[in-house]
């Protein structure tokens, strides 16, 4: 078929759609090529070079993320030359990267560490000056540690191409290059224009951008991830609730989300503290001593019995039309269905509404 090409990757013949990249061809065939700057949703700068491969007959090692497949191409993804190139890139990255992995929020989920491990790079061979910039804690929700940044530029591109805000970009040249808001403002400064959506956090491959709330709370392997639907607006975004020891300790993107992919707004990503707020109600309350009386904590049994008996009394005395139900756009379909039955089956009235008009 004209739309397909056949090439060889690591000695294996594979047939893929014409026009895709070598990286995509490899990924489709279960062959993992390291990437830093590549992201399927973003433009392709082909900048970081960690995805280089060897292609027979080519003079240099092309980055697979921006090299299109061609008929008969012979690709090696882990040849000696490729591994040497990757080791050198990693060596150079580690030369300007803090070695404080033990306290890094990204520990266990860091691409730089993963690839250093994969290619056996214990430490850098280039000893010299390192970026030393104070950690930016100006944002209420995002911790920005420029020292850990590997300049892959994914945060720059996600903010420009998806979020449409261009809050951060590369600043300065050469060794002093950092990713920063304009005029090197803190991310949390109002004039920086950040809306705290955290899409940059979701794409950061290292510990440069992390969720402030999750610092020091849980390691990735301690966390159970439960995919669910956001409780705020009607967009219906999905994300993973991060749970540790029976507590929600964070929210992270789940790329399989139908509506939003990895993107969320500030409420979805950072708006979960209320779950464990100290003033959550945990026991039913009955007001004793009339309307001006005080609330007294009671058992569930007592509360439900009391509710049922009072509703029954009032229904018998005043009829069904004296009863009203307000259900909730905050609650589930199942709960709304039951509230509809509470009104129509148990109380015998169509007096049921909810906050749709508000």
């Amino acid at each position: 078929m004209a739309d397909n090409v056949t090439l060889t990757i690591n000695g294996r013949k594979v047939t893929v759609q014409a026009g895709i990249t070598v990286l995509e061809a490899a990924q489709q065939n279960g062959i993992d090529i390291p990437t830093f700057c590549h992201d399927p949703e973003l433009s392709k700068p082909g900048a970081c070079r960690i995805c280089v491969v060897e292609i027979k007959g080519w003079r240099n090692l092309p980055p697979s993320c921006v090299t299109a497949v061609t008929e008969g191409m012979e690709v090696e993804t882990e040849s000696e030359a490729v591994v040497e190139a990757r080791r050198t890139i990693l060596d150079l990255l580690l030369a300007n990267h803090p070695q404080d992995c033990m306290t890094c929020q990204k520990f266990g989920d860091c691409r730089l560490a993963d690839y250093a491990y994969r290619y056996g790079l214990r430490k850098t061979t280039f000893i010299g000056e390192q970026t030393n910039v104070p950690v930016d804690e100006s944002s209420a929700v995002i911790t920005r540690d420029v020292n850990k940044c590997i300049l892959c530029g994914k945060c720059v591109r996600v903010c420009a191409e998806i979020v449409g805000r261009n809050v951060v970009d590369f600043v300065s040249r050469g060794f002093t290059t950092i990713v920063s808001p304009a005029l090197e403002m803190g991310l949390g400064e109002k004039e920086a224009g950040c809306v705290n959506c955290g899409s940059c956090v979701a794409v950061c491959p290292v510990g440069a951008l992390t969720e402030k709330n999750m610092q020091g709370i849980a390691r990735p392997w301690e966390v159970e991830k439960v995919k669910t639907t956001c409780p705020y607006c009607g967009c219906g975004c999905n994300f993973d609730l991060n749970v540790k020891d029976g507590k929600v300790v964070g929210v992270t993107s789940n790329p399989t989300s139908a509506v939003n992919g990895r993107h969320l707004c500030v409420k979805g990503r950072f708006g979960y503290d209320f779950i464990h707020s100290s003033d959550r109600l945990t026991l039913p309350l009955i007001k004793k001593g009339g309307k001006d009386g005080d609330f007294v904590e009671v058992s569930w049994d007592e509360a439900i019995r009391y509710v049922a008996s009072r509703l029954k009394e009032i229904k018998e005395e005043n009829g069904s039309e004296a009863m009203g139900i307000l259900s909730s756009a905050r609650c589930t379909n199942e709960e709304n269905y039951l509230m509809n039955k509470l009104a129509r089956v148990a109380l015998g009235t169509n007096n049921i509404d909810h906050c749709a008009r508000l």
């Binding site: 639907t229 779950i275 003033d279 439900i304 509710v307 029954k312 009863m323 756009a329 589930t332 379909n333």
Partner: protein, 525 residues
């Protein structure tokens, strides 16, 4: 939404009216940006210069309440210039002559003053919308929260049908639902005039169907809406209310009236996760469970039914569905469910749009209703080839000004809405450190010219009063808002703007006019 969120980025012409999309539906706004970067035209109709308005090719800073003049004049231009979709109008609709007559006098010149933009701008957007390959209308409460709310929506539908911009990919009428499961609450029958699945209570076959399904005789008499319930409680006709996860003491118009109504009840049950302003008035408060503590489903604005999964145990020991089942049982109607999915299956059996949906089918991406059978893949956009009622019906609507207009004593129009960092009555977001740090205090937007006249500077505390009450709030002097208008949110208990808002309602759907109330602004010396 008749369309899906995923279709937005492919749309050629986006007509956003009464929606502050970047703040209220941030993820949908990303799709709109994508469309714009593809070259789509974006028109935003909003009295305020919101962020999405700044992004627009054309911003129409409509005078509050002038939706029908704008929509009708657009129809007038489209008919006068022969730009309407004659084939669509002939084959898919009825009542074209009625519409033609209704918009006859709505020439842009006649209404330019009321609308607040030049006649040529109206012509330009009318032509652009009619001629676009695909055009979609997006609206929120800026259209609906008016005494003319129903007519506003009908006017929107007229425009879409006139141009055939509905019932095809990326073309349609898209109300963006404001709350996580407001779509689902409506679908599940938490409305006074319909059983689950929008099956009208006034239709005898439906009464019979649900009488049989539930084993209890059903009433054909439509019930009361929330505002009417408050009125009935105020009069003493409503004796008992059970309120789940709602906080009318901050969210509903004219809070003084709401408070008197709720205090007048013989018995009030509130089920919530916090002791809200409303729960404080209750006789019994039942602890609710947050979304993280229970299984279930939410239906989003594009009709996508998605799973809510229990991540932690309910802090109070019971999920809300368990509590409601127990109350039902205690009332003598045994309802025992082993899981939320059993309730869903029961609901799906009586809700035609959900008939083909089960938890097993929702696992990965959810399903968009209507999904009439277990083989059905769900529906991406509605009204393909045929409207639900058969032919699309044009309804001529006339302009009626808002119920309360500014006058000498109350010279400003108060408009209310939301902020990016908060949600509804703030019960969740105000208890979230990050959000409450970033946006910790509410303010009221006022135009620099008005502020100057009143001697008010940015950040200064002002007293804002309507015929119904007063609040104190800081002024935010900004040209985002037009002269003669002020805007704030209803998120903050410290600045409860609904003490000021007007509870006047649309005569058909009973939505209150939260977008227009007359107020005065005074310097607090």
């Amino acid at each position: 939404m008749t369309n899906s969120i995923g279709e937005i980025s492919e749309c050629d012409y986006l007509f956003v009216i009464g929606s502050n999309t970047t703040e209220t539906h941030p993820i949908i706004s990303l799709q709109m940006r994508k469309a714009v970067s593809r070259g789509a035209k974006l028109v935003v109709v909003d009295p305020r210069k919101t962020e999405i308005a700044e992004l627009a090719d054309v911003h129409v800073p409509l005078r509050p309440g002038a939706n029908i003049p704008l929509l009708n004049t657009m129809c007038n231009v489209i008919i006068a210039e022969g730009l309407y979709d004659k084939e669509f109008v002939a084959n898919r609709t009825e009542g074209f002559e009625e519409l033609k007559l209704a918009v006859e006098n709505f020439t842009p010149e006649n209404y330019t003053g009321i609308i607040g933009v030049p006649a040529e701008t109206i012509r330009e957007i009318a032509r652009g919308y009619a001629k676009a390959g695909s055009a979609a209308i997006f609206y929120t409460m800026g259209i609906t929260q008016h005494t003319s709310g129903t007519n506003n929506v009908l006017a929107v539908a007229n425009l879409a049908m006139l141009t055939g911009q509905i019932g095809k990919p990326s073309s349609g009428v898209n109300p963006l639902r404001g709350q996580n499961n407001v779509q689902g609450a409506c679908d599940m029958g938490a409305l006074p005039n319909v059983f689950p699945g929008y099956q009208g209570v006034a239709v005898p076959e439906n009464v019979e169907k649900f009488t049989k399904a539930w084993g209890v005789p059903q009433s054909a008499k439509a019930g009361l809406t929330v505002g009417e319930m408050m009125d009935a409680a105020h009069h003493g006709d409503m004796k008992a209310m059970y309120i789940l996860g709602e906080n009318p003491m901050l969210s509903d118009p004219d809070i003084t009236h709401v408070q008197q109504a709720l205090e007048n009840l013989e018995f009030l049950v509130v089920q919530d996760i916090f002791l809200t302003e409303t729960a404080m008035l209750a006789d019994v408060v039942l602890p609710g469970a947050s979304f993280a503590e229970k299984d279930g489903t939410f239906s989003n604005t594009e009709r996508r039914v998605q799973r809510v999964r229990k991540a932690i145990e309910p802090l109070a020991g019971k999920a809300d569905w368990e509590v409601i089942s127990e109350v039902l049982t205690a009332l003598g109607y045994p309802h025992e469910y082993g899981s939320a999915s059993e309730i869903f299956d029961e609901a799906a059996r009586v809700t035609p749009q959900y008939a083909g949906i089960s938890y097993a089918r929702l696992e990965e991406k959810g399903l968009q209703w209507p999904c009439p059978n277990t083989e059905h893949p769900g529906t991406i956009y509605l009204h393909d080839g045929k409207f639900s009622r058969g032919l699309g019906k044009f309804t001529g609507v006339d302009f009626e000004p808002p119920a309360e207009l500014p006058d000498e004593e109350y010279p400003f129009v108060l408009n209310t809405g939301r902020r990016l960092y908060h949600y509804h009555t703030g019960t969740m977001t105000r208890r979230t450190k990050g959000l409450n740090t970033i946006y910790s205090e509410e303010s009221i937007e006022i135009n620099p010219a008005d502020a100057c006249k009143l001697g008010i500077s940015d950040g200064e505390l002002v007293k804002v009063s309507s015929r119904r009450g007063s609040i104190s709030v800081k002024a935010q002097v900004t040209d985002m808002i037009q002269q003669g208008m002020v805007f704030t949110s209803f998120h903050f208990a410290e600045a409860p703007v609904n003490f000021l808002t007007n509870s006047a309602r649309d005569s058909i759907c009973k939505i209150p006019e939260l977008k227009v109330a007359a107020v005065k602004v005074e310097k607090v010396s």
